[in-house]
Symmetry: D2
Subunit: 263 residues, 4 copies
């Protein structure tokens, strides 16, 4: 075993081709957040006892986030946006810890860029590839603009390997909204990967909490929403049963990940 | 020869699966526009005499547009944004007509959705598939947000079949900008497709001008910009030689195409 | 109206950037063909009277083709295969003409490259973009190779805009198979596009039959198959009702399109 | 720290949504292999001392592989080939170890499916996403088929984030070929990822050698080849300088990874 010269593979002298460079990682994006209720007992299939017992009791509350992100490390990605932009669907389930505090845990998340996928795995977010679409709100009065005002309707969807897994619709109420899901509570990652030398041995996992800096939002815009989850042969979200959409909000937010600690 | 029951293929009874439905087509998007100068003589390779003579004389001015669009017909696409959103790179070259008026002509344009490609061909915009990336400006004060203020830098690129063809950078000046390219002058399409029964006979072409309704903008933000074009075995933009970037602007705009007329 | 210097847009002097060049177009690929029966009356929704009456009576027989193509004009595309390769799902419905002869008509077809999409529209094949996957048979004895022998199972699927529309499975019987669908009968295209100057006027359509040269196959391998079609908000294939899979075959074939004539 | 119930994230009870399941992993594909010489001293930029010293001395020989794979675990992926198929470009550099034996090391590799990317990282192959195209040889006598015979020409390319990084051409000689690169010598992985709790601490790396079972080929077909590498802002392959193409071969091969051991 020896030390690496870079942060992630490929491990070269310059580290220039490393897929991921060390934090800070700056993110800013447009998000649609839809809180939902579900049968708490069903969550145990997605967050198994060995993890769930460690952190607490499912509350039967969760949140779906659809995000159109822009991310950068040193600013260079914003000049070459194929390096910066990606879309993401995030599922967060709420847990009540022994001390009564609440946190989120992420049983499923999909992105469409490799950089984001690996950054997620390092944080304990179980990222896979998926295709997210999310209506944007443009500051225009035009039939295609979906401006931020009462009555504007937004849509969102996730497809994984060419099958639709989630679809959502939201209608802005015109009132102020609030942060939801991972925007409203600390959300823990479950980090760890198997050792291929011993494939039969379960990987050792560790709960992580990201250190966040520079959180900012444009303010949130409240919405009513609907949410559908479809069966998929290699996804398990449908195990949660019917989701009861609750509060929803849309808006822009920024945050910076500077590292992580044990949670 | 017989009449079709729908607007474009496939021609079914309901027309529901038609790739394109009849206008009006509503578009709203975020655009980066970069005017450029070039050697007017070189434009003749891209806009050949049979077309160019019809409309006038190249001025040696052009514009590159990078656009992140949202489009809808009856609003339904905004609820299922995989149907609504696409990205586009548009090249417009300016022509002076016999009467001294100026118009634009489009020698190259690339989109990433089939619906947009066929709508373009019907309008005489020579759309092919390409992958456009464009930094977005988010209303946040955050390192990843590229907010609308002096000093913010934006990037844009186009790749066609996995080769980079265009890349651009822009820096907002903080001043108000102005519309450029197709936003500033009528731009003509060259409509017409070959008849496969007589492949050796040149297609009959027709100059079209779209009828535009509901034009709107958020106001334009001035920028300085750089622009590079790369050789590509099946693209001809590099025939224009070196491009001298001029005025640039970024902002949101909306417009609606309701039809077209002879130009 | 004036003559074009090239075959398809963009119309430049050299024609080098034209999306499609004039035929001959050479195609070779690996195909899975699945014949199916359906309620002939339901076909009328997909092939409306104005077309259907022109050519005859639905027989209630059809065929689904999944294809992994390689196409070239002058050979250059085979040296840069991003220009040559694409995947396609083709639906063909059989018609009995007044003289008792049979032909096919294509109510739906999806490809994943722009060049193929436009070549299709010129031939009257109503191509849209879709994502086709098809198990390949490799000449190896290995668990991942799906070799050409009895008991080998193949899968195929089509997704359109992130929704699965068709899925199929096939199991090779070990017997020789036969050509099906467009491989077994002339299949007509319905060519024509609207004129944007008069969007309310139905496009004038024309039945075309491609002139095919150099047809060749590796021989077909018989299979049993299953076939499922799913509802999709902008596709109409599900209107055919339940499909009864019949004969199926897999193999390689080549053909060259040299032009088209009225049918 | 606690044990996981599954093999890779997401860690659920059933493990059904895990991106990767435990080996064996079966692979079969069509490959183009191009050996090349390069200035051995330049390899040190790609395989830094902390790794290179561990294993030996660069020989100035390497190999580029372009592969069109089909992979499966329990056979289910072959029935749903969006789960099975991916394309890959692999670079292997040869090392002479202290005992005079030779092995390969992989400084760069790109795939187009997430499952393959994570399987690679577990094996110590530094996979990122990239778009590989490779002409296929079909068993037909047709201009688009590139059949296996003297004079047939094949092309291959890799694009990363919309920029071409590698392109190759090969011409079959008609003679038998031989295995090259990772097909001809054991190739070591460099496994290990950073711990986000201590981002400044270099990850601990480990050399792995995969345990391979069921190797098989269709026989290799010799070719002459050319190879070009292009500069890319986030790739480092061009650091190798000019590559001198040597032997090349094309053909089908299968192999099964059952685990890995320290190397």
């Amino acid at each position: 075993m020896f030390a690496s010269p870079g942060f992630t593979p490929p491990y070269t002298v310059s580290g220039r081709s490393a897929l991921v460079t060390a934090p800070p990682w700056h993110y800013a994006g447009w998000l649609l957040n839809i809180a939902f209720g579900f049968d708490a007992a069903r969550g145990a299939d997605l967050v198994p006892p060995s993890i769930g017992r460690t952190i607490g009791r499912m509350t039967g509350q969760g949140c779906m986030h659809f995000a159109d992100w822009q991310a950068t490390t040193d600013g260079s990605e914003l000049l070459d946006p194929v390096q910066a932009q990606y879309r993401e669907t995030i599922v967060v389930l709420e847990i009540e810890r022994a001390d009564g505090s609440r946190c989120g845990i992420c049983p499923a998340i999909w992105v469409d860029q490799d950089v984001s996928m690996l950054r997620g795995l390092l944080q304990g977010w179980p990222k896979k590839m998926g295709s997210t679409w999310l209506t944007r709100s443009l500051p225009l009065d035009h039939p295609a603009a979906a401006p931020l005002r009462a009555g504007t309707r937004l849509g969102a969807s996730l497809a994984v390997k060419g099958r639709r897994v989630i679809e959502a619709e939201a209608c802005l109420t015109g009132a102020a909204g609030r942060p939801l899901g991972f925007l409203a509570m600390p959300t823990l990652g479950v980090a760890g990967l198997p050792d291929l030398r011993e494939p039969a041995r379960p990987p050792e996992l560790r709960l992580l909490r990201a250190d966040i800096a520079q959180p900012t939002t444009s303010g949130w815009h409240a919405a009513s929403a609907s949410l559908r989850v479809f069966e998929h042969p290699r996804e398990e979200l449908a195990l949660l049963g019917e989701l009861q959409p609750g509060d929803a909000s849309a808006g822009w937010c920024g945050l910076t990940v500077v590292g992580a600690r044990d949670a």
